[in-house]
């Protein structure tokens, strides 16, 4: 087996608590499908047959009852439950399932919606025998107004600085602005090896990583790393150029190949920490080393060093220029995703089991879920209506997201809002850019603008 897929679905959605305090992030409906259906669908389309899903018990329960998950997902899902207290980071979760991991892994987050050709990322991983290969995308501007927020908030402090080499594939530098207090400093050794570096800030990390099995073993021994994105990836990127990694003792020369074969446990011979050796000491088998020596290929030119500068640890990134790639971890992203995700999959706008009266005006951009009941004289434009929702007469819904089981009484006017599951909107309510929480009730004739109704 080549790659094992791991889906991280235990995240709490800390940046959109209004939506997630009742429904776990993995099961939030996007285009009437649970959020985690999208990465699972991506994996299934690519040919995976088994996925290890790390999630909480609540999500597991919801997964087993959700019809979409049961019918559409044909892969075998190996669900591993972890505690819900939120202390476990993604790397901790990997450490938790270390026993199940037998080969290299592909880690995906449950909030990724994309249609990337996954082979671009995996080919980098395979061809260059990389330790890490990840996916990034150019950030898209969010054009929709976010309910509950007056004006646009600019989050300029959390930029990511990503440094790639000239070909745009090799990852040389990665740091978050929050970690760079004094400014961006780049080591001379990196500059000597890669004199041309492109530093990009407008990239979104898709949280899709191909990792070697040795990294998981390394995590098992190194318990201080708890987040893949926050700690493991920057660590690996830094370690590519660390002096200890490229110590000449470890480099295999053609002449002392036979000797090196016998020096299997490198850790005992070199003055290195035992844990670091796991990643570094993937000694090339002598045949592979011979092939590399005889091959007339080099990834760079202009200096005297061999391919990859002799480094054994390599990190690669594939940057998507076009095509959708969203991480649904904020409210704005959630709304954007709802707008665009159904188009990705050519969803049927109206579910066959929905009951829609004939005098209803439905725009072509709207999506109606299963078992809905839409009464006369309603107008639904650019909205998504979830399953089992009842919409009574003379209701105008525009630019909104209505989740499952909502009841909207007559004469309501809902614009630009997000209504969570099981809410009840009283008669004649007028909601503009509001966020109504789970199970809330809006009084009849209520006029709300830019409000958030949450318990």
């Amino acid at each position: 087996m080549e790659l094992q897929a791991v889906l991280m679905a235990a995240g709490g959605g800390s940046r959109m608590t209004d939506l997630t305090y009742n429904t776990p992030k993995a099961m939030l409906p996007v285009g009437n499908k649970p959020l985690m259906w999208y990465p699972l669908n991506l994996l299934e389309r690519m040919g995976f047959e088994e996925v290890i899903v790390i999630t909480t018990k609540e999500v597991q329960k919801m997964m087993s009852t959700d019809p979409k998950m049961k019918l559409d997902v044909k892969m075998k899902l190996d669900v591993v439950c972890i505690q819900e207290d939120g202390d476990m980071g993604t790397a901790d979760a990997l450490r938790h399932i270390q026993q199940k991991i037998k080969t290299d892994i592909l880690v995906v987050s449950c909030d990724l919606i994309t249609d990337v050709a996954l082979h671009e990322v995996v080919d980098l991983f395979r061809a260059h025998n990389a330790t890490l290969a990840m996916l990034m995308s150019k950030a898209h501007e969010f054009t929709e107004t976010v309910p509950g927020q007056k004006g646009k908030k600019k989050t300029a402090e959390q930029r990511d600085f990503v440094g790639v080499d000239q070909s745009g594939k090799r990852l040389l530098f990665m740091a978050n602005e929050a970690d760079l207090e004094d400014g961006l400093s780049i080591r001379k050794s990196i500059m000597r090896k890669h004199p041309r570096m492109h530093i990009k800030t407008g990239l979104v990390d898709a949280h899709l990583y191909c990792l070697k099995k040795a990294v998981v073993d390394f995590l098992a021994d190194n318990k201080s790393i708890s987040s893949i994105r926050g700690e493991l990836v920057p660590y690996l990127v830094r370690k590519q150029f660390s002096k200890t990694t490229n110590c000449p003792k470890i480099k295999d020369d053609a002449e002392d190949q036979n000797q090196k074969k016998n020096d299997e446990p490198h850790g005992r011979q070199n003055p290195l920490k035992l844990c670091e050796c796991f990643i570094i000491s993937t000694p090339n088998s002598p045949l592979l080393q011979l092939a590399q020596d005889r091959s007339c290929w080099n990834d760079h030119r202009g200096d005297m060093s061999e391919a990859y500068h002799g480094g054994k640890l390599r990190c690669y990134v594939h940057i998507m220029d076009e095509g959708p790639c969203y991480r649904v971890n904020t409210l704005a992203a959630y709304i954007e995703a709802n707008r665009l995700a159904p188009k990705l999959f050519e969803e049927v706008p109206v579910h066959p089991s929905a009951v829609i009266s004939e005098r209803c005006q439905m725009g072509s951009d709207s999506y109606i879920g299963a078992m809905c009941q839409i009464a006369d004289k309603t107008s639904i434009k650019r909205s998504t209506i979830g399953n089992s929702t009842t919409v009574k007469e003379k209701v105008k819904v525009a630019n909104s997201i209505i989740m499952h089981g909502v009841t909207i009484e007559e004469g309501c006017n809902i614009q630009g809002s997000v209504i969570c599951s099981n809410a009840v909107i009283g008669r004649g309510a007028d909601l503009k850019y509001c966020l109504v929480g789970n199970g809330q009730q809006i009084e009849p004739e209520g006029k709300d603008h830019w409000h958030e109704h949450t318990p």
Partner: protein
Amino acid sequence: MADAGEPEGPERKDDIVKAKQEGKELTKEEKQRLRKEKKQQKKSKEKKDDKPSRDSEKEKKPASAASPAPQTPTQPPAQKAPSAAPAPVPVPASETPSAADKPAKSKAELKAERRARQEAERASKGKKGDVGPQAAPGKPKAPPSELQPVVKRLPEHVQVDNPEVLKKLAKKLERQQTPEYNAATKVKIPLRSDYGYKVSLFSHLHQYSRKAPLTQQLGIPSTVIHPAIVRLGLQYSQGIVAGSNARSVALLHAFKQVIRDYTTPPNEELSRDLVNRLKPYISFLNQCRPLSASMGNAIKYIKKEISNIPSQCKEEEAKRKLLNCIDCYINEKIVLAAKAIAKYSIEKISDGDVILVYGCSSLVNHILCEAFEKNRKFRVIVVDSRPRLEGREALRRLVQKGINCTYVLISAVSYILPEVSKVFLGAHALLANGYVMSRVGTSQIALVAKAFNVPVLVCCETYKFCERVQTDSFVSNELDDPDDLIVTRTGTTQLEHWQEVPSLGLLNLVYDVTPPDFVDLVITDLGMIPCTSVPVVLRVKNVDQ
């Protein structure tokens, strides 16, 4: 014979009409056969022209011909579906002894035997559509006599502009399905499509784009093809593993991993099943990048070793033996051969020499480094050419050792040749008529060197000797990605939209052949031989094996 014939009637394409009359068919056939024999005897006595044989052929046509039989062994063995029946295996093997025994047995008996074998073969293979169209043109050419020499055709991978051949290739790939354990999901190996406009002289060759790798059409956790082979295919198509020796070593390394991960399915023999397992991998690699002659020889060697494993050998022991064989092969044919060649070459390098090398040949680099270590005083001129610019890598390796180097492009070769005392060239393959197949540009260098009376020495290991015969670079070559020729200088890319210009074609050839008149000496691990002695070496090698 009657028993073997009966179920076979409906299988033959031409006999569909007569399917119901099986019993009568056979007697008809027997009559036809007797008639044929009589006519042949007449023919051989009188030595007339082939008019009567043509008549007999026309009679033979409905009953299908013996002519497909000599043709079937020439088709690549990969086309035969993996079958447990021993029938197909003895057929090609027994063809040759049957021809040898000809004077001993009578023609009639032989023909009858062959007919029976053919029918049994057809039963085990099922319908074979390709026999039909190939047999049709073959029939008028091959009269019923068995001693007629087999008509050799151009190999399939070269006839890219012939749609029939492409269809056959697609079918062949479909048939080369990896046997999955549940046998219900048989995924086929995808066909890589050609890219861009091909120059008409080379339209019979494949031209692929590096931006459309074959992995696009495969599932991501590749279960059909072993991951080591997928990785290798990617490395070939992206040029990460380049160079004849490197590709062979990497191939054998990947095969070692395949063998290590292999388990014999129940009711199968390792010696047969493993060979069948390797076939789809080899076609996959062929599509990523056409196989080199050295890789072909390595594959032949492995297949022979696998089929020679005795059936009572246990799996673990068999695997260990195979891994050992591979290690020995590499050690003998590549590592030790390089040492031997270096030893011979150092005798030819004298102090004060100016040596010209072209491109990056791992063997030539090795020789020069060894000579430098033995304290020979010489300097090197590295000649390079676009678009690969491999000379830069050779330059780097030589300068790293401390050798005095000069670097020029191939357009300057006639300017610097007056300074040169020897030319060392590497080879991709040595053909059976003495021609040297090497990187494109090598024949130019050899030609100019000959004009200046500079000795040209080609260094090549014996495992790269190949039985093909070629006198020009057109009939069999490799076309690389044409987009490699596009270069961006000072912000402008002139050829960016070359596909839109209908009269423009970009040609990126990889190999060319150098005639033996331009080569003065070939240094191999067997010694220093003239170019024309290559067939002798091949003959000796075959006798050894």
